[in-house]
Chain length 477, copies 2
Amino acid sequence: MAKEKKLVEAITSMDVDFAQWYTDVVKKAELTDYSSVKGCMVIKPAGFAIWENIQAELDRRFKETGVENVYMPMFIPESLLQKEKDHVEGFAPEVAWVTHGGLEPLQERMCVRPTSETLFCDFYAKDVQSYRDLPKNYNQWCSVVRWEKTTRPFLRSREFLWQEGHTAHATEEEAEERTQLMLNVYADFCEEVLAIPVVRGQKTDKEKFAGAKSTFTIEAMMHDGKALQSGTSHNFGDGFARAFNIQYLDRDNKLKFIHQTSWGLSTRVIGALIMVHGDDSGLVLPPRIAPVQAVIVPVQQNKEGVLGKAFELKERLSGFKVKVDDTDKSPGWKFSESEMRGIPVRIEIGPRDIAQNQAVLVRRDTHEKITVSLDGIEEQLRGLLDTIQSDMFARAKGHMESHTYAALNMEELKDTADHKPGFIKAMWCGSQECEEKLKEDVGITSRCMPFVQEHLSDTCVCCGRPAAKMVYWGKAY
Amino acid sequence: MAKEKKLVEAITSMDVDFAQWYTDVVKKAELTDYSSVKGCMVIKPAGFAIWENIQAELDRRFKETGVENVYMPMFIPESLLQKEKDHVEGFAPEVAWVTHGGLEPLQERMCVRPTSETLFCDFYAKDVQSYRDLPKNYNQWCSVVRWEKTTRPFLRSREFLWQEGHTAHATEEEAEERTQLMLNVYADFCEEVLAIPVVRGQKTDKEKFAGAKSTFTIEAMMHDGKALQSGTSHNFGDGFARAFNIQYLDRDNKLKFIHQTSWGLSTRVIGALIMVHGDDSGLVLPPRIAPVQAVIVPVQQNKEGVLGKAFELKERLSGFKVKVDDTDKSPGWKFSESEMRGIPVRIEIGPRDIAQNQAVLVRRDTHEKITVSLDGIEEQLRGLLDTIQSDMFARAKGHMESHTYAALNMEELKDTADHKPGFIKAMWCGSQECEEKLKEDVGITSRCMPFVQEHLSDTCVCCGRPAAKMVYWGKAY
């Protein structure tokens, strides 16, 4: 047991130090590693396999809505970045600049894309001529660079992987529809696949994307009660089209500006996966996103027939993502390791099980052990994986709901913010002034104005003027 | 017919100007477009869909050999790039340098990766401790940057997409085995999926990768007789391991250097696809890589029942990648467009066909028309796609074979190089001197020393000294 203990002890308890627990899990589950490039991470096989599953599932959902994938250059000439005023102000301070190509200085420096609105605009300006060329529903999977000062694996790093969709439409209505459609694709994906419940809503003007008319967001609650913005969808109206002069000839023979959207989801959601579902034994992955859904651990694997039976079982379970751990580590070590990596189900099988034509299924999420007959094990496993998936979602939803509080006045708001980690629902007048006051005095920011509004009172929690919106407030990653 | 003619006429004939034909096809088939970033391309949906299919098929083949995907940072600090002498000499002159992060100059400048050997070495130096940590069979899909002076879509651009595999092994033998294994994965993929026959062989020392002990290559012949290096696999021996001090503790308790390989295949192969199979009507895609395998073109689509039947047919052919072209363009325009895009089969269906319970299948590769009964159309289409795939490979192989010549002396060599586009087989003494002479005097370079050697004569075609190897020579992209 010494070895097993060592593996487990290496993790800080989440109640003792949540930030350290996070760092420990990322490291021990072998998701990422630090690199010699400051602020950038190496994504290791166990981490990248999760991202591959996210990509496959999201990409399929995108394509069902008519999205096509493309690839734009990774560089943006400085003059191009500067064409939209709000946009350049938002991003210029945090980009990486390329100044030399080979041995020679560039005539114009270029930044590595922090996001690609300007490149897509540049492309649409040439490629869109007529109403027949619309809509363009383009997306790309790539990495982007933002020169952050403080970084944490998945949550904030100087380079990260994401997808960015950029669409062009003939009308305002169509752009608004696409903006909301993609937000719902993200929300459904998070809830159905990642088992992460989210609040869907609109960002306030203060929190919206640089250059956007409106930004929609999905906000998830981590185990420590903090919010993580997990995906955003922006409606640009015709702002970028005017800055880049992107016009099309409409059916009525008039030149009109296009309307645009963009939407992105990044490797950040892996951070959410960890912080929503993880526990003191490590990562806990929902079955629908887990690269390995079940690990078969042979017990007394040196006894005749045990390893053979384990691989026979793997064959029978070929409809699932199953691995046999036949390394020469002890079963206890293997148990701890599979828990650390968050594999949803462990299947233990030893000589006594074989004699009784059975195996033991162990749930990662509850540690519950279930002895099942080998005869019906496919169906048992299928049912168990479904149960784990829905239980994990229900548990996370319960956590979010029980950590969401309403505040009717500043006293309640401060008290909640100071003592109860979670979301705070409160009425807001709509002024940036109150938002800033709440940030400074209470340390919370507006997460979103949820689509599902509640009427808590008539007045702004901060200034007492008439309320315009009910807002979710919180501390955020 | 005016419109159709216009579309077709816009393409230069390949016999008139092959380079212009290539540029025309890339543009008219909407594979790429130029961007405001000099030397970088925009890959449009039709081009990117081909790359996605290449990725999916290759990735599956990689994983079958135990490869795992990871992601390394896109930046390389200058000091890291400089650790392996040959490598830095090969790449430093053509990298893009990042000198500023946000508003501040970097303490050490970094290049955007031209290839990632140094990053993987840096990672392995930390991550590999014991023989238990080996092998590492890692791969990443990403883009790389090389500051080329002259660029052409897919063939040579300042940024391109590729995969780069980087493996670490305990022994020299295992590294050599992996190097050859991956070359064969590339070769089989090209032949079986892209229908592109390749010559498999080893590069001469002059042509090998910067830092490699040996480089293996697959060389394909384009329609104009020029060679295109389509994938390479490198054995580094322990050279990088010594430069980066990557050692592991072996079973015998001794510290030993690891042995490494790397192997890459890029969007360049899309250039090969175009130049091997294309014709004067545009692109011709092999069915196994085509994003759309068959397009249904309704004839007289305004007549009652025609469009309905077309979509009904699409449903029945759901086992294939099929689209209905129901735009308001004329059938002739649709025919030309589907040919330009290289869709393997066109299915024409009009009122007369419907009355006779039939449709017309038109092969893209031969323009042959086949009238088939709707009853057995799935099987007919399946058979036809298989036939097209194997015919395309056979045709390309025939072309390569009939354009491969043997030369026994300099006179024959010069005469062939001057008048017969293609590969030239000739004996070689092994000296770099002769290689350079052939490049300067005849304008050809060594493509590879093929694995399948032939004994053409005892002496070097250039200097008359004893021959060491039979080499494929040619002009290359």
